[in-house]
Point group: C2
């Protein structure tokens, strides 16, 4: 399952990573959100703005039509409350990335991105893990679209982190971070 998803439906992400993309008329793209399990997926109450949801990895979804959701919310106010909390979290995340996009250097963006993946990819991991190993859910091109960079800059910055022994890279996708604190230092926060 790595196709574009219809946003007129709603889903829970059971496993995998879904990317939310916006595209300018001349083709420039920006990934504006990543949804990990067990996030909720969809935008109720309005015609969607020009937003595309696409699987970034193999994804398992629990999906149902818009009307079903809105009916369920009427019957069960608790559901609307949980939806609100999820959307508030997404808003916080979006604003964190705005700082990265607007004010961080390429090196800081890459470090922040790796940290964010390390902390989200394993749902079981607590907030205070010291090391991490994971497969990148995005290609270099997708990372570039997420960070507002080019493929080449992403590649150069990853090579640089490897050269400084902050990360190891296997198969272009698998990343090992022995000391997350060293990444954090470079994330600019």
């Amino acid at each position: 399952m790595s196709d574009t998803e219809n946003v007129e439906r709603f889903s829970n992400v059971l496993s995998g990573v879904v990317k939310l993309t916006k595209t300018l008329s001349d083709g420039r793209q920006q990934i504006v959100g990543l949804q990990f399990a067990p996030d909720f997926l969809g935008r109720p109450f309005q015609a969607e703005s020009t937003l595309t949801a696409e699987a970034a990895t193999n994804v398992e979804l629990c999906s149902f039509p818009r009307q079903a959701l809105e009916r369920m919310m009427k019957e069960q106010p608790d559901l609307e409350h949980r939806l609100l909390e999820q959307k508030l979290r997404e808003l916080d995340q979006a604003r964190d990335w705005m700082v990265a996009l607007g004010r961080k250097t390429a090196a800081e963006k890459i470090a922040s991105f790796l940290l964010m993946i390390a902390r989200n990819i394993d749902p079981a991991a607590g907030p205070e893990l010291r090391a991490a190993a994971f497969d990148l859910p995005l290609s270099r091109a997708e990372i570039a679209d997420f960070l507002g960079l080019t493929i080449e800059t992403v590649s150069r910055q990853l090579t640089r982190l490897r050269g400084n022994n902050v990360i190891r890279i296997d198969n272009n996708r698998h990343i090992v971070v022995d000391d997350l604190a060293r990444l954090e230092v470079r994330s600019g926060d």
Copy 2:
């Protein structure tokens, strides 16, 4: 009233513009949201992330403590629903700006910013107005923090738009746009 506001309280913006700012440890700042009348202001259900709300212009607020809001929401589910819709709009706006921050040039950022102000500053104006005149609610430094640029770049791009007769500038703050379509062409969307 142009002071920092306590985010442990909640408010309706009755008039004026409030800016939401995030700051990195070394002082770099990014404005992550602008709230116009009649927007709602505040972040329920959780310790606030590091977000500062500050009046950008003279502002009138209708403010009340956190607990009052959460009590009112329990009693009146409709309120929680309206809050959800507002937060969904804020999320859409945040994602629009992520595209601007990540993928637009300085010139496009400035054009997009002016368009956005023109459309929000007068709550009465419909979506299809052809011309606009308004006072910028932000200083050059604040515009820079909003667009991920420097003061100098903001100034140069505004001068350039004036040189091309797309806008007129009085008193450094008052902007006149005779043809919004010409701005839209330069906004990159």
